[in-house]
Symmetry: C2
Subunit: 408 residues, 2 copies
């Protein structure tokens, strides 16, 4: 059987029109005032976080990885609902602090922090996830200059890989973190430099849909963190074990089974609290909090037929949503789930390809999908678009206006 | 033998430092004031155009496809050197007109022109390359509203494909242009609507390094244009046969042999002037005019070793130069030509991977290349970066500052 997309049930359909944030899509498009746009639903994000709080073990801390969706209104919404923010640049740190997240709850990771970023992070008082020995020395020098003691954790590149991850970030030679075997020596220097040591960051990979693989990596991460803590200059206060929870994008992919992840985490937390009761365990999630809460919406300009193939030509495309066009790390292009937002179920259907206004065949939002037969003015919806959408796209490509973003 | 990159000889090396626009790269970096940046060389662009004028047949018109590099200063430089500009959006049309190109020499192609863009293009008086029957009707309505007669050409989707093209844009079902067999009927309507017909646009594909394939496509395009002209409401004034001239990016690729293209064009122009002496033949080049004139420059933050593999960590990366990271339409990632701009030949060498500051393994500018052994502060140069660089990249990704652009 041909693999199909998971049914998109997160947004209700009334009068055959998708509703998001309780608003009919056609009306929302009028309110936004122009297409294309991204819309993110407040209640979906809040319920996702509530579900995690309810399902995952008590005491586990939940962080939001701002990179998934740095829209200031989204950060503002999430800030009071989680225990901290993780940022990947000075720009994201600004967003986190502007959103009201306390600097003591912000951590800053990334393999290429500039000296200016290190300085500004130390001035802010955020936790630096050190990615190399060299960065440790640069942070120490910046701290000396400022007369401040940098708060630091060490990002570890473990020996093991995260199985089934959409993107592997650990195991073997990596630009991320410090090879595990070199961490003990680094910790000795870190103590000698007088840095304020908090713990470790272990992040194995992203976009994983296998609860078993996630649990295994989490368990191994905590074991490794505990082993390395024996070399630390002070007690292990925190362990950030990353996230990597995936969402289903493509035909055949199924949602991550959260209760299984919760069970594994329970087991891992028991081990941690038995061996190191004062250590906080931090789960860092980006995509999983926001991806399914968001849609990308563009308008049909024309229905065009070329050699019996139907093209739906829209005012949006790969310049706004690179991942949906298949050009963001995918080796083989697959379709995101797509619908015609104002003709979800009723009327004639046909196989059509959704393209944008760009002069390149890469500009493809849906390749030969079964969709409602469109009229000009209809609204094409790309689901699963709340993470790595707008900011992961080449919006200046071919000089079209940037899409808008709304939180509803 | 392992394929290697074509030698990069366009910029001189003095005191082991690359010079662009007559300026040492280290000094240029100080002048720009920060890294990363793109630098484009005026004299390289001007000599490339001069070489084309000298090599290609007299009478052939040369257009610049602004999408390749829409930096206003670049457009301004090129405007007096070519016969016209081709634009792909209302935004690019503004750049073309601001650069001083006469509206009568600007043509506007693209499969998803909005009604607002059609109206603005008609108001400006540029030539519309109609991509569908529907667009023809929309243009006619916009012209009626404005009391102006739209100047139009018809973009044709021919039956044949461009062999060996990096990107095919014609043949079979396409979102671009009107299927050739439907053009005669469309031309009858076009006459009835009173549109001002100029000619045809046939663009088969981009990034082709085979002179033979290009000449064959050009010849077939002109033949098809002449055949279709029999159905036109007025004389065939122009034929835009696209461009598609490639530049060598990857190991094993060799520069297009221009004299062979010139010979083919000579033959094609003879056929055209014999059959339709009043028809202007237009070659539309983007990448070929600017790609090799440009470099992307970023600074080394750290030299990092992980499990005996060397990573050069820089302040630039895929968010600034998506194509060089292998995520812009490439199925298999290959390296662009890269060097250490201030240590081109001398000193120790080693195999290293150049990465950026992003928290993703996609952020890879060079994968295991032989390079000079770097020190922090060194300048990494990615060659062949003058086209589809900055504007084809997700610059907002992870909240880092945008790179600058200079024309020197």
């Amino acid at each position: 059987m041909t693999p199909v997309h998971e049914e998109q049930r997160q947004f209700p359909v009334l009068d055959d029109c998708l509703h998001i944030g309780g608003i009919a899509l056609t009306r929302l498009a009028e309110r936004v005032g122009r297409t294309p746009f991204y819309a993110y639903e407040r209640s979906h994000i809040a319920s996702r976080i509530a579900l995690l709080r309810q399902t995952l073990p008590a005491g586990l801390e939940l962080h939001y990885a701002v990179k998934a969706n740095p829209m200031p209104a989204v950060a503002q919404l999430i800030a009071p609902l989680v225990d901290g923010f993780d940022v990947a640049s000075g720009g994201e740190m600004k967003i986190a602090l502007d959103a009201g997240m306390s600097a003591s709850q912000v951590s800053f990771a990334g393999p290429g922090k500039s000296n200016a970023e290190l300085r500004s992070a130390i001035a802010a008082g955020v936790l630096l996830h050190l990615e190399s020995e060299d960065e440790m020395h640069r942070a120490a020098r910046a701290g000396d200059l400022l007369g401040l003691t940098p708060r630091v954790a060490v990002r570890v590149n473990p020996e093991f890989e995260l199985k089934y991850a959409g993107m592997k970030m650990a195991g073997g030679a990596r630009q991320f973190g410090v090879d595990a075997e070199r961490v003990p020596a680094m910790l000795r220097k870190l103590g000698a430099l007088g840095l304020d040591f908090h713990g470790f960051h272990l992040f194995c990979g992203a976009q994983n849909l296998s609860a078993k693989a996630i649990c295994e990596a989490q368990h191994l991460s905590v074991q490794l963190g505990l082993r390395l803590a024996a070399h630390a200059p002070s007690a292990l206060r925190m362990l950030n074990i990353g996230g990597g929870f995936g969402v289903p994008y493509f035909p055949g992919e199924r949602a991550l089974y959260l209760p299984a992840v919760a069970e594994g985490l329970q087991h891992t937390m028991q081990m941690l609290s038995a061996e190191s009761p004062q250590t906080r365990l931090i789960l860092e999630l980006g995509r999983y909090l926001v991806a399914e809460a968001g849609i990308y919406v563009c308008r049909v300009l024309e229905r065009k037929v070329s050699h019996d193939r139907v093209f739906v030509i829209t005012d949006g495309g790969m310049h706004h949503h690179l991942a949906a066009s298949g050009n963001f790390g995918q080796v083989i292009r697959k379709n995101y789930p797509v619908t015609i937002g104002n003709r979800v179920h009723a009327g004639a259907r046909e196989t059509a390809s959704v393209v944008g206004p760009l002069c390149t065949p890469l500009d493809l939002l849906a390749d030969s999908m079964e969709l409602a037969r469109v009229e000009p003015g209809d609204l094409v919806v790309v689901f699963q678009s709340g993470a790595y959408g707008l900011t992961a796209s080449p919006i200046a490509f071919l000089g079209h206006p940037a899409p808008l973003e709304v939180l509803v």
